[in-house]
């Protein structure tokens, strides 16, 4: 008889099946762990590090670390929160996250996680990257300056759409999203607005056209309640 083992998340027992990660088991039990690159439909990626937790005294990413019997996992301690804020600050200064001028504001997962973790300032020196916006596609605008390299579009295009439109290229801080087309432009690729990849971006990097500012302020996804209660952008879009 298969009996569920449990681990403890901030003192709360969480059941898990063999092979489940800390993240999978926590989400299944209705416990929220902040995350950006994790998406239940895709293989874990482990790039954003926002889901960092302290498991038996070690800091690990909850989305890649397998759950283990009787493990003590800390997600809501002050030190973990501070670590997450530092990671978020790095993501914010690395791109041009001008929320007041972004159509995704109010329904952006990066912004919502930053609110949830209590980030008030960028702390670090801004990079102010200068990557040209790709507006070649009729249905979607691609702003590389907001991309957080979560690879959700890469995974969606490869694993679900079977198109391999996106990839990450370059090394170190030069790493960037690229498009597989003869010109490198999205408009010349096989990308379509109906693709899964068009709807998984957690930030305002892959932005569908003609939908901006339709939702009144106050009624946007994260206006009234935090992401820990509302859930991911992708989950709400599908609903």
């Amino acid at each position: 008889m298969a009996e569920h083992s449990t681990f403890r998340l901030d003192g709360r027992p969480i059941p898990f099946a063999p092979g489940q990660t800390i993240m999978d088991a926590a989400l299944a039990a209705g416990a929220y762990i902040p995350h950006l690159c994790h998406h239940p439909e895709f293989a874990p990626h482990g790039s954003c590090r926002v889901c960092v937790v302290c498991a038996d005294g070690r800091e690990v990413s909850a989305c890649t670390a397998p759950a283990a019997k009787d493990m003590e996992v800390e997600s809501q301690s002050e030190s973990i929160r501070a670590l997450r804020v530092s990671i978020l600050q790095m993501l914010f200064v690395e791109g041009n996250h001008v929320c007041p001028a972004c159509e995704k504001s109010g329904a952006c997962q990066l912004q919502a996680v930053a609110y949830d973790c209590g980030m008030l300032e960028p702390h670090f020196t801004h990079f102010f990257p200068r990557r040209a916006v790709d507006a070649s596609h009729p249905d979607v605008i691609l702003d590389y300056n907001r991309c957080i390299l979560c690879e959700l579009c890469v995974r969606a295009s490869r694993d679900q759409d079977g198109k391999r439109v996106f990839a990450i290229s370059g090394r170190g801080i030069g790493s960037r999203l690229i498009v597989d087309s003869p010109t490198g432009r999205l408009g010349d690729s096989r990308f379509a607005i109906t693709d899964k990849a068009a709807h998984v971006c957690p930030v305002g990097a892959i932005l569908p056209r003609r939908g901006g500012y339709r939702v009144p302020i106050g009624e946007r996804l994260y206006d009234r309640a935090p992401i820990s209660r509302v859930g991911d952008v992708a989950a709400n879009e599908e609903a």
Binding site: H97, C99, L120, E121, H123, H126
Partner: protein
């Protein structure tokens, strides 16, 4: 009964590369302004006629740093204020004006003063009276040390009120979820 008059805290404010929206949001606390002037006395601010800042307890800075005069004013504020606060998205991260950082400064100036539509007597203004623009717009924490950050474009009146009342009361500052936003 303690009959001593508590000295009022001195507060200065300024707008650097800002739009004055954060000052408008401060005024949006409405009749609570009357409570506020019981607690504070205004030094140099766009709301008073004082031209040079004196020693202050609190300095509120709106706007990022876009030109040489902004740098000078910001450093003067830092020198005179015990507590310095970045108010609004521009002061916090450069904000909308920092979108010019995607372009070379010379391109911005040429577009505005030479190539723009409907211009006559073209030429980039070069009177020494005018402060020179910096090559990029910077958040204020890249120029001076900042004690508190109040995000929002602008921060809501309620957020500003929460901040001021809790700071003046010497309490740790905590905001309800709906008061913190970056847009």
């Amino acid at each position: 009964m303690d009959t001593r008059v508590r000295p009022k805290l001195r507060v200065a404010t300024t707008s650097l590369a800002g739009c004055f929206g954060c000052h408008m949001s401060l005024l949006d606390i409405d009749e609570r302004l009357i409570d506020l002037v019981e607690l504070v006395e205004l030094d140099r601010t766009p709301l008073t006629d004082i031209k040079t800042i004196g020693d202050c307890d609190l300095g509120l800075i709106e706007g990022g740093v876009g030109n040489a005069e902004n740098v000078e004013v910001l450093r003067t504020f830092r020198h005179h204020c015990k507590v310095l606060v970045a108010v609004g998205a521009c002061a916090v991260n450069g904000g909308i004006p920092a979108m010019r950082n995607s372009f070379a400064l010379s391109d911005c100036l040429e577009e505005a003063y030479i190539d723009g539509v409907g211009l006559y007597n073209q030429g980039i203004p070069n009177d020494p009276e005018l402060p020179l623009l910096l090559s990029q717009v910077h958040p204020i924490h890249e120029v001076v040390k900042v004690d508190y950050f109040l995000p929002g474009c602008p921060p809501s009146a309620d957020a500003i009120w929460t901040f001021l009342t809790e700071l003046l009361a010497g309490k740790p500052i905590g905001f309800p979820y709906t008061q913190i936003h970056y847009d």
